[in-house]
Assembly symmetry: C3
Homo-oligomer: 347 residues x 3
Amino acid sequence: MKVSFTLAEIEAIVQPARAQGATTETIRAIASLGSAQPGDITFLGNKRYKTAVGSSRASVVLLPLDFTGAPGPNQVHLFVENPSVALARMCSRLERELWPKPSPGIHPSACVSPAAKVPPSATVGPMCVVEAGAVLGERVHLEAGVFVGRGTEVGDDSWLMPGAVVCAECTLGRGVRLHPGVVIGADGFGYELVGGRHEKVPQVGTVVIGADVEIGSNSTVDRSRFETTAVGEGTKIDNLVQLGHNVVVGRHCLICAQVGIAGSVTVGDYVVIGGQCGIAGHITIGSGAKIAAKSGVKDDIAPKASVWGQPSMPLLLEQKIIILRSRLPELFKRVDALERKAGGKAG
Amino acid sequence: MKVSFTLAEIEAIVQPARAQGATTETIRAIASLGSAQPGDITFLGNKRYKTAVGSSRASVVLLPLDFTGAPGPNQVHLFVENPSVALARMCSRLERELWPKPSPGIHPSACVSPAAKVPPSATVGPMCVVEAGAVLGERVHLEAGVFVGRGTEVGDDSWLMPGAVVCAECTLGRGVRLHPGVVIGADGFGYELVGGRHEKVPQVGTVVIGADVEIGSNSTVDRSRFETTAVGEGTKIDNLVQLGHNVVVGRHCLICAQVGIAGSVTVGDYVVIGGQCGIAGHITIGSGAKIAAKSGVKDDIAPKASVWGQPSMPLLLEQKIIILRSRLPELFKRVDALERKAGGKAG
Amino acid sequence: MKVSFTLAEIEAIVQPARAQGATTETIRAIASLGSAQPGDITFLGNKRYKTAVGSSRASVVLLPLDFTGAPGPNQVHLFVENPSVALARMCSRLERELWPKPSPGIHPSACVSPAAKVPPSATVGPMCVVEAGAVLGERVHLEAGVFVGRGTEVGDDSWLMPGAVVCAECTLGRGVRLHPGVVIGADGFGYELVGGRHEKVPQVGTVVIGADVEIGSNSTVDRSRFETTAVGEGTKIDNLVQLGHNVVVGRHCLICAQVGIAGSVTVGDYVVIGGQCGIAGHITIGSGAKIAAKSGVKDDIAPKASVWGQPSMPLLLEQKIIILRSRLPELFKRVDALERKAGGKAG
């Protein structure tokens, strides 16, 4: 990020209760206490690290009101109620620089069907394709090369990044963010073996993505066989995740990278699924469940349960078994010894 | 899907032997027995669920000829030889509405090399790029933003969805479907360590995809080092699957989501590979083998074998071991007790 | 590949010390000893396979100087210092045919901001989008449909393949290759739960890709929270790999397909990570470490260590445990027998 803030500009953003020290630097980046260089702003987010403040080379340090200690040479301490919140304000400000609000309008290179609805407040970037019957909400932003298929609705304030694809007849709620390369609404994986060939089962359902859902780069959400693949409001999905047809994910879940959820799974609300987990088809994950990374889940999971393993088990049991598994060499030796003592292999 | 069918239109599609009841609804969607609402059509695909028919709120129910039971109020029973087949006919009809046959021709925004061959029956969508020497078959459909590289051949009736990429000098057979974001023919992953640097081994082979192969969103099939990466006729591949260079997959296989097959693996015909499996390089999977989800396969698999686990073992053995593994805490206690009884730790 | 070489052309490329035999074939492909057909060139790369030379149907065989044995009918033996190096020369030549050096210039369909810098030696393919402030180096090649965001720098001689996406304010070094569908610089996965909703933590850092890095199809590298996600010089990354925000990968690593590295992981130099491995967040992998396929790593790994398993353990221990695990049925029986001998279940 090529940004530059004067100390006065930073004070206007974070509104410190008081300041100490002085610097001749303009601020060009944010960094952690340990890696900050002159020209950086840093923060003490966790009091555990307060001893690191003294040796930080940052030009500006955001500190809690009760911090004691003098700034170094060419360094400013800014005292704020909550340094993490103050930093978040800096980040939001940077975010606006990084992703400035686009001018509304349709780029001349875009291909928008006359039978699509695009309000004057929406932005359609270069090389986008918006097919007949598609409806974009207010202030929708399609970055370059986005595809919106026939009859698809995109809710107000949604933001689709370069190369995202939403196939025909899907629905995105308000404030949805699709990162680059996301594919929504391609066919589910369904075949019937007839005479030695896999005959395609037509996938004529749809996908409904709730408000404030965010989906990471190159993730895929398949359309259902004939009903609805759904992701609930506020759920956040990381990169390279696969949701099969007829999957229904609840609200405010977190689904980490490279998770795969097979067809017709139901996931409750506030479920957390660690990276690279796989969920077998046609099961139910209760609300509030936590599934640790790399687990394979093949049976229903109770609400609020914590599980781990392949196949997954209660978390504490799996943790215990992992330790015992590593002691198998010892166990075999102990059984060998018992057998010797008992007079040869028992049978 | 915004569709609407009158009862007469539905009868024309499914051709019932007889009908019972009446409805004032037009039919706008397909749903399962349990979730159907007025305006939906549903079906009894499996006689196990016949008790659910009585309470279904669907407006139209497809039923086998021998079903007994009266329709509810504002509900029609349609009796057919095979309700699943009848439903499939409804789905096919819906599919035609969802994906109407495109008009042939090249969209003015597409960039087609004068040295490419595009027959008048083909459809090239907006923002497509077709390079010199590429050859499209009859009725090929490239949706928006598809890339077809130099010298690549696409068989008759193939359908490439938005953003699919087929690099230079590859061959797709007749009736191939590539879902959005698929990448065919990028370089295989091959290097030689020379003087502390990984020198690239040129990947100058090709990829040949057989007839009626379907490949899911964002899956990748690498070109071979100098021969051919191949996928046999009728094989179906789900989303986010990786096929490395020189992989040869047989005919009529099913490869589920997020599977990875390393370089130079040979897979027979009618192999089924569950989600998130990994197959190590240079091995052979016999025809008819079944590999359960999340397995890691590092040795050859015999034809028709069923395997599971990481590393994979015969399915029945792995199932047994999974149970015994969960009993490790008990086993350690039993060995502790035996040692106590035997007078202290044996040695 | 539709290529054709006369024997004289091949001799000019591989410069044999001597030749034996004669062929009327022109050479149209490279193949291994066993699968070669008339019209193919093959090579003896490993002396273990020398008995396969006699039965090879290749028209031209590259052989080491000390090979003894006469060519078959219509076959030529070319004797060279190192057949593998000679084959690599053939491959490089084929690579130039397969990916001919493009003519510099900006395709008329591309959308390049007047505020971007594109030198006359660069090639910008059809449908590309290059935003304001982006800087392309000398001889950069953007194939069709590439996106380069605001303020992003692409080093000299870098090659971005169809549909690759590099978001705003990232940096690619010299000679970087991004395969189709790669996404660099999308948001990291960071949220804070506030009042029952996952509030987005702005991701305002950047991504820096070192010189000579190659990244495979549809892989994703997220931008950092506020510092830098980095991949060191010479590292090679396969397809469908996920690197989370703030990950720092060293130089000359090999990262195989479908690996996932969670946020804030540090990976040293010359690390090799097998396919489908997962690395948990905030840990350090020492230089020269080797992580076998499908491992799950949740703790720091020492330099040069070899690990395997989920969770990963020292390689030799994991190999031993895998064998013992498969003997669990036997172990349970032995403990049963010991208990019977000891007079009933001990307790």
